[in-house]
Point group: C2
Chain length 340, copies 2
DNA sequence: TTGTAAGCGTTATCAT
DNA sequence: ATGATAACGCTTACAA
């Protein structure tokens, strides 16, 4: 396609040297106001657009940020990306978005594509299969700024944004106990995930505080397939020693639970109460409406982006601090944990 | 950050000229098998990664496709992007994803950022505010391949992928009539949208076929705000001449209807039946479960990508044909249109 | 204040 | 079969 005119052509049109035009467009102090004006108006007239690749090559910056998420069909991640884009677009950054589909091999492939400077930084949430982190470490060691959110990677010394996973899970479990649950199960995607660990700790501690012993069989390890998860949960619900409460550490497992319950003669909340981490706007429209722990997704995205922009645009910024920044979630109680 | 070694450095390591190394890596016929092997193994050993910007600058190709959607928190668009990525990633293409948030000014800004070759092609669905299409035309005239899906732009002579909007809306409306609805309303985002026009035609024709006259007040023109839409729909439902059936041309308006109904003493499906275009996997978990017209989102994405890849990778391809390709939707009947 | 020239990392053309 | 060189479009020393 026709990319329009180049700086050189624009300069020829103005009878100026390319360097002068470049400086004028970049508002250099060494160019007179008069020529600046001339240059800018001609640039507009001819609709001059700088070639991003020439610039990137020269400056060794891409003005692009890579966002890597485990799945795209997910309210939480969509909201986070909206938050990121909100900030980065104002600063002229572009977003390359990749989904790993919870597949660590895809994750590795994507990271290897980002070794060559195509993106100036990475914002990511790891896949549920990620336990070996050498592919992440490699890029971080090279000096590529990486920032984690939600599903973080503690081995990489960088900044991570999470919600108060431990407390939320603790409070959620406590709520189930207060609503009369005696046998509470915990649904998780993968034991490796940071969010699983933290949320599970909160769950266990809340049980213990109430004098209840966490049963190993009640910590259900699910997978990526909705059908399989529904089946797994259904089996749990049909077992002789079935739970009467569920804390779901991710949204999709709550939905799988709803599907599973439909295939039994149990009912929510009478036979089973459930609370779940979820960012669905329509949790209130489910049957029954779902009690949720909602993460501040958009804020998380914005905060990631703000920090990154600071790091990328201010000269000689220090490395991203090895710290975890926590933004609290919000519990909304609905019918799925109701006593009646 | 450290981008690794360059072709020149790799060449020096091998005591070869950069051009030779380049040719070896690009599997040129003029290079001996022996040197090819040497080069490739050394490139692997030193983890050589070609600089994408140097390559883009030289070849005038970005290996990048821009995807522009009106909103990110949307099952349909997320699925379409999954479909696109599925195909394009196999061919080494990267995806820049932009959301317009239904704002035509943002849309214009994004398109102007794409004037300079940053992406080799655009796949998009226009915002609900888009009626003047000069910003799209400008890029198309420059020769940038643009492909539309769902919310298409008939003024631009290129390939468009849609679902059978007219027929689906016709069948959906017919279904409502068969379920006993006498006064059927149509919910839409914007009159300008291609999908609105087609779906509305289907709605009107189904009414007429049943000998019913479409009431103007029953074609409800909604906006981007969920709260405002809920209020608008609530007013319609509380009016003296209220509808007993609704065809919602987009998912979010069906959800707004559910919210609106909650604020009345009406009930679905007894007082009001509703069918909606929707790609929610959990339509069956709503209260009541929602009768849907589901678009083949992932397939649409895949087909867009396949066509684009063909256009971009085969040399001297003709322009994208000015045609509309239709992939049918699927109606799933659930409780929201039940007679009881 | 403006111009000249080098260089970013590739690939293609033209030698050898 | 391989090497030297120019060019893609931009920015930045260095000159003037």
């Amino acid at each position: 396609m026709n990319n329009g005119i180049s700086l050189k052509e624009l300069a020829a049109e103005l009878n100026l040297a390319p360097s002068t035009v470049s400086r004028a467009l970049n508002d250099s102090y060494e160019i007179s106001e008069a020529t600046k004006k001339k240059v800018i108006s001609m640039a507009e007239k001819l609709n001059y657009q700088p070639n991003p690749f020439a610039r990137s090559l020269r400056e060794n910056k891409s003005k692009t940020i890579a966002v890597i998420i485990p799945e795209r069909i997910n309210y939480f991640f969509s909201q986070v990306i909206d938050g990121i884009e909100e900030i980065t677009s104002e600063h002229g950054y572009h977003l390359l978005v990749y989904s790993t589909h919870e597949d660590v091999e895809k994750e590795k492939k994507i990271l290897s594509l980002l070794q060559n400077g195509r993106a100036d930084a990475i914002v990511m949430s790891v896949s549920s299969q990620t336990s070996d982190v050498s592919h992440l470490k490699r890029l971080h060691d090279r000096g590529l700024p990486i920032l984690f959110f939600d599903r973080i990677c503690s081995e990489i010394p960088t900044t991570k944004f999470i919600t108060n996973d431990y407390e939320s899970a603790f409070e959620g479990t406590k709520h189930l106990i207060q609503q009369g649950c005696k046998k509470i199960a915990f649904l998780m995607l993968s034991k490796e995930l940071s969010i699983t660990k933290e949320r599970h700790r909160g769950y266990v501690d809340a049980l213990k505080m109430a004098g209840m012993e966490p049963e190993p069989a009640f910590s259900l390890h699910c997978c990526h397939s909705d059908e399989d998860n529904t089946q797994l949960i259904r089996e749990l619900l049909l077992s002789s020693n079935r739970p009467d409460g569920i804390l779901s550490s991710v949204e999709k497992l709550a939905l799988a639970t709803y599907q599973a319950v439909k295939k039994t003669n149990l009912s929510i909340p009478d036979d089973l109460k459930i609370i779940s981490f979820s960012n669905m706007s329509i949790a209130g429209l489910l049957n029954p409406s779902l009690t949720t722990i909602t993460q501040p997704a958009e804020t998380i995205g914005e905060e990631c982006a703000k920090l990154l922009i600071k790091k990328l645009t201010k000269p000689r910024q220090p490395d991203l601090l090895n710290q975890v920044i926590t933004i609290p979630s919000k519990i909304t109680i609905r019918e799925s944990t109701l006593v009646r």
